[in-house]
């Protein structure tokens, strides 16, 4: 069964300097509170894995916590650039970072392979693109048809962190709405943490509900509004204004640093 603990304890026990860490959530249930706690605890030299880095990884990259970024789409959806992500790649600020980029289809299949304890996944992809020379993909031949397809390596991070709506006291988790790759990320990782909007006495099955049994998770931590400015379907709304405002905050290094000091690093609990 998962340990139900407070967020600082969970991060302290599960996330170490140098870890490959995935904070997943595809446009929905992005674990901001957990990411901020990682920054408050001063974790460094992380390999940050996420299909869509979004504002959260912009903050973590800008704060200098990342050694490497593994991703498939580094934009501020509907708004524009992630300026800290760009500044790190274009100008090496606050320090240079390594990048490893894929397509969404490849990342999604890498998660599936990781959750399945397979070393690789197969897809129709990458043929003819310049991505192929810049990422980890090999060609593989179908032993039945002779067709040549793409093989991509499994993702198996040291730690995966996702956010969900609810957990019960035994650490069983339910999320609903857009499910993304959260189940895969948790199952593919060596260690896992789920932050939740609320702890309930009993999980009531919901339409679209994805349940992660507590025995597959290391820790569960309550973090109300823990995916804001993204959202938790049925509980919080996506704060589109915050995404738009981030475009302004993040353009300038000093403005960014001041904002982080005030809104993230000074805060105590999530």
């Amino acid at each position: 069964m998962a340990d139900v603990v407070d967020l600082p304890t969970a991060i302290r026990e599960l996330v170490r300097d140098g870890d490959a860490v995935a904070l997943e959530g595809f446009t929905h249930l992005i674990p901001f509170a957990a990411g901020h706690e990682i920054l408050r605890q001063g974790r460094r030299d992380l390999e940050l894995i996420r299909m869509t880095p979004d504002v959260l990884y912009d903050q973590m990259v800008g704060a200098g916590a990342a050694r490497k970024l593994v991703f498939s789409y580094g934009g501020n959806p509907g708004v524009g650039s992630l300026h800290r992500f760009r500044d790190a790649i274009e100008h090496g600020w606050p320090h240079p970072i390594e990048i490893e980029e894929h397509s969404h289809a490849a990342m999604a299949n890498r998660w599936v392979a990781g959750a399945s304890a397979l070393p690789f996944a197969v897809l129709r992809g990458y043929a003819g693109t310049d991505l192929e020379a810049r990422t980890r993909v090999e060609r593989i031949t179908c032993p039945f048809t002779g067709e040549v397809l793409a093989a991509v390596p499994a993702l198996n991070p040291d730690v995966s962190i996702v956010h969900a709506q609810e957990a019960d006291r035994a650490g069983n988790v339910q999320l609903w709405g857009i499910p993304g790759v959260q189940k895969e990320a948790v199952l593919a990782a060596t260690r896992s943490l789920v932050t939740v909007e609320r702890i309930v006495d009993e999980l009531v099955p919901r339409p679209g509900g994805v349940v992660l049994p507590g025995w597959t998770i290391d820790a569960v931590a309550e973090a109300p509004r823990g995916s804001q400015p993204s959202y938790a379907h049925g509980i919080t709304d996506r704060d589109n204004d915050a995404y738009r405002a981030w475009d302004v905050v993040s353009r300038d290094r000093d403005t960014f640093t001041a904002w982080m000091g005030e809104h993230v690093l000074k805060g105590q609990a999530a």
Binding site: F26, T27, H28, M51, T52, F71, S72, Y73, G74, G75, P77, G78, V79, S81, L82, F85, R86, I89, E90, E101, H102, S103, H104, A105, A108, N109, W111, V112, L123, R124, G125, Y126, A127, G128, T129, D130, L131, E132, A133, R134, E147, V148, G177, I178, P179, G180, V181, K183, E184, G208, Y231, H233, D237, R238, N240, Y243
Partner: protein, 266 residues
Amino acid sequence: MSSTETAPATTGEIQTIVAARRLTGAKVVFIGVGRPSTAAILARMVHNPELVLVYESGTIGAKPHRVPLSIGDGELAQTADAVVAVPEMFNYWVQAGRIDVAFLGAAQVDRYANLNSTVIGDYDAPRTRLPGAGGAPEIAGGCGEVVVVAPHSTRTFVERLDFVTTVGHADPDGVLGSIPGAPPEGITREGLGLRGGGPSAVITDLGVLQPDPATKELVLVQLHPGATVADARDKTGWELRVAEDVVETAPATADELAALRELVAR
């Protein structure tokens, strides 16, 4: 509503309206955020109420009332016929060829409708780092056809992409020499093993380009009201082919314009 009381369509509005018209006969469309999403919702309002909208967040048959800011807004999940995980979306739906039409944008487009959304300048020392591939390479590989929506400018319509993120019609005659591993005589998208039909149109704020059925090179076939062939040539970074019978885009109807403005204002 009388059109005499309505301000004329902007070039951006006409671009959206032309994109929406292309969905009149479509069954299932795959869309990202921004103008393609607006166009698809407009198509459902005006031309094709049965149109199935698919977003890569896993929402199939979403019926948004407002234009979503992200492809994962809650309203999309709330109104969808089915919501699936991202691996299923790409494997069972996109890769399996169940989507008729996909809308894609890009920072750079070449004459064969290949797309760059990765980087401007050198990959290792980029002038501008763009968001990256996202779903585009496999969407363009697997969907029935692709409609590219992009602003007409020499920054976007370039002789040679800085980076091939997404293959459109590849390099069928070896003119570009830009497809990695392709032989000097060129390679087609079929030759690369891509299954969908590839780009069927590029809709810009000036007009519409379509691939020549034989050579696959983009040809200007349609101009929006007020735009000229000279404009299009000026704003294209290669020597643009122009159809003999360029048609003028039918003006936005009062219904289209009213619906679009009402949608954007929601």
